[in-house]
């Protein structure tokens, strides 16, 4: 937000009080983050379909918009806006209408603490990382609301599974990030990124072998958090029987998917900030920090898409087994191992 505040200060100078500068700066950042979310949804729906196509030896969309179907998301959007908005008769109307927004807002709030570039962070909280994990917990609440308000027992069933999955996987997610906090000594996102300066070998993923494993643990847990890839049992129930967004049509349905792609980019951004050096370049001085950050995050998104279109999905009991019996012990071991490594190498003194 510093960048925005300075920008407004340079334009308006003394005519704006510091509070006004703060408010306008904050509002512009919020607007930019919302635009970034919308852009994510547009670009990643296209990218997903192309990647899925090429992985399956076929082209994806090719015709809409000339070159390789780049306007396909626009066509999809127009289609979905034209659909009828149906609310089931005995559904809880208020909750029904509210739940897509709860999920969306849970994602949007977390964007406030992502460090895109030095100074270009919506809110430089000292508790940045903790805030992100705390606020992403709004999503399971939204899912339960959606399932309950649909007045459909299969939707509720799917929603319960989805919420259970998201809540469970938040634990290895947070545990995998704790060694990073131990190394940096702070939860501030800017401090975490700045501590990774000086070339690729200073990135936290290469700091010690436990952090290397920690990155992969974080990656897998983040895929489960977004309800994607091999962990999309709550969603695919809608293909099989029902899922938490069965009763949703038109734009409300689109909101769920918007939130999914925004969440996808969000967890990739967190992974780049925490493990892959954020806006620090591979070597040399800092150049185009925003671009470097976005490119790294997009590569992680691409990896997530490859994983989704390759691996078969896990059954719900296999999902839970993986979380509680494999990932949580492994994450705890990583924390312990990282601590011992740091103690032995003298960092913890």
């Amino acid at each position: 937000m510093q960048v925005m505040t300075d920008l407004f200060a340079s334009i308006f100078g003394d005519s704006m009080s510091p509070t006004a500068l703060l408010i306008t700066g904050g509002l512009t950042m919020a607007l930019i983050m919302s635009l970034v979310m919308a852009l994510c949804a547009i670009v990643f729906t296209w990218l997903e379909r192309k990647v899925a196509g090429f992985l399956q030896s076929r082209y994806g969309p090719m015709r809409v918009g000339g070159f390789h179907g780049v306007l396909q998301p626009v066509a999809d959007m127009v289609k979905i806006l034209g659909k009828e908005d149906i609310i089931p008769q005995d559904a809880d109307k208020a909750l029904f209408m509210l739940s897509p927004f709860v999920i969306f807002v849970g994602s949007l709030m977390a964007w406030a603490a992502i460090p895109f570039a030095p100074g270009f962070i919506a809110s430089d909280l000292d508790l940045g990382l903790f805030y992100i994990f705390a606020v992403s917990s709004a999503a399971p609440a939204g899912i339960l609301m959606a399932g309950w308000a649909s007045n459909n027992k299969w939707a509720l069933y799917g929603a319960a599974r989805g919420a259970a999955q998201m809540v469970s996987y938040e634990i290895p997610l947070a545990l995998a990030v704790i060694p990073v906090v131990m190394v940096t000594g702070s939860l501030n996102m800017n401090a975490i990124v700045e501590a990774q300066g000086g070339g690729i070998w200073n990135w936290f993923i290469f700091h010690n072998p436990f952090l290397f494993i920690g990155f992969f643990l974080y990656f897998i847990a983040s895929i489960a958090e977004v309800n994607r890839g091999p962990f999309d049992m709550p969603e695919t129930e809608s293909e099989l029987v029902a899922g938490y967004h069965t009763e949703y049509t038109g734009m409300r349905f689109a909101f769920f998917f918007l939130a999914e792609y925004a969440n996808l980019f969000l967890v990739s951004c967190i992974a780049t900030a925490v493990f892959l050096g954020g806006w620090q370049p591979v070597a040399g001085p800092v150049f185009a920090p925003g671009l470097v950050f976005v490119i790294k995050a997009c590569l992680l998104v691409l990896l997530q898409m490859l994983v989704r279109w390759t691996l078969p999905r896990l059954r719900v009991d296999q999902l839970m087994h993986t979380c509680w019996k494999v990932m949580v012990p492994l994450a705890l071991l990583c924390v312990l191992g990282s601590g011992i490594w740091m103690m032995v190498s003298g960092e913890l003194l």
Binding site: S57, R58, L306, V307, T310
Partner: protein, 191 residues
Amino acid sequence: MTQYLRDVYDAVVSAFKGMRITSKHLAKKPVTLQYPDERWVLPERFKGFIVNDTWRCDACLRCAKVCPVDCIYIETVGKAKDRFMYRYAIDYNKCIWCGLCTVECPTEACQHSLDYDHSLYKRQRLVHEFVTPEKPIPCHKETRLEMGYYVPNAEEEMAKLKAKKEADAKKAAEDAAAPPPADAPDEGKGD
């Protein structure tokens, strides 16, 4: 405990194996042909739309009779040497592309083409008229020979026809030169 560790190892290794396979496909050129810009090269005996070569067709009506869905409409007018076919139409709405008409056709007029994509907006346009009433097709062999249409073994037939014509001409000339004796009037018949 060993089973647990083995399961974890198997899961990780198989995930990497799967990713390697799909990533290889990501780098290859897709196998899709972008229809309608790119099309598959059809084999020469491809059973496409049935077409009738009206130069060869002599209205034997075998194709119409053998068609299981009666999609060939033929109408003729006249008798013997003046017989003409003024309508030959195939209704592609009904055609099941079985090819029985091509098997039956004695002159190889009915053949499969290499066409396969004719989606239209009006189903009436899928009835194709091969013959217009302004230019009807002759059916009798001699008329066909005279008008230049296809007849099997055309030279022999032409030769035969010429011979026949000469014989007829000679007979006509003989009749003109030496008229035959007039028939004696009937006498004593039917008294």
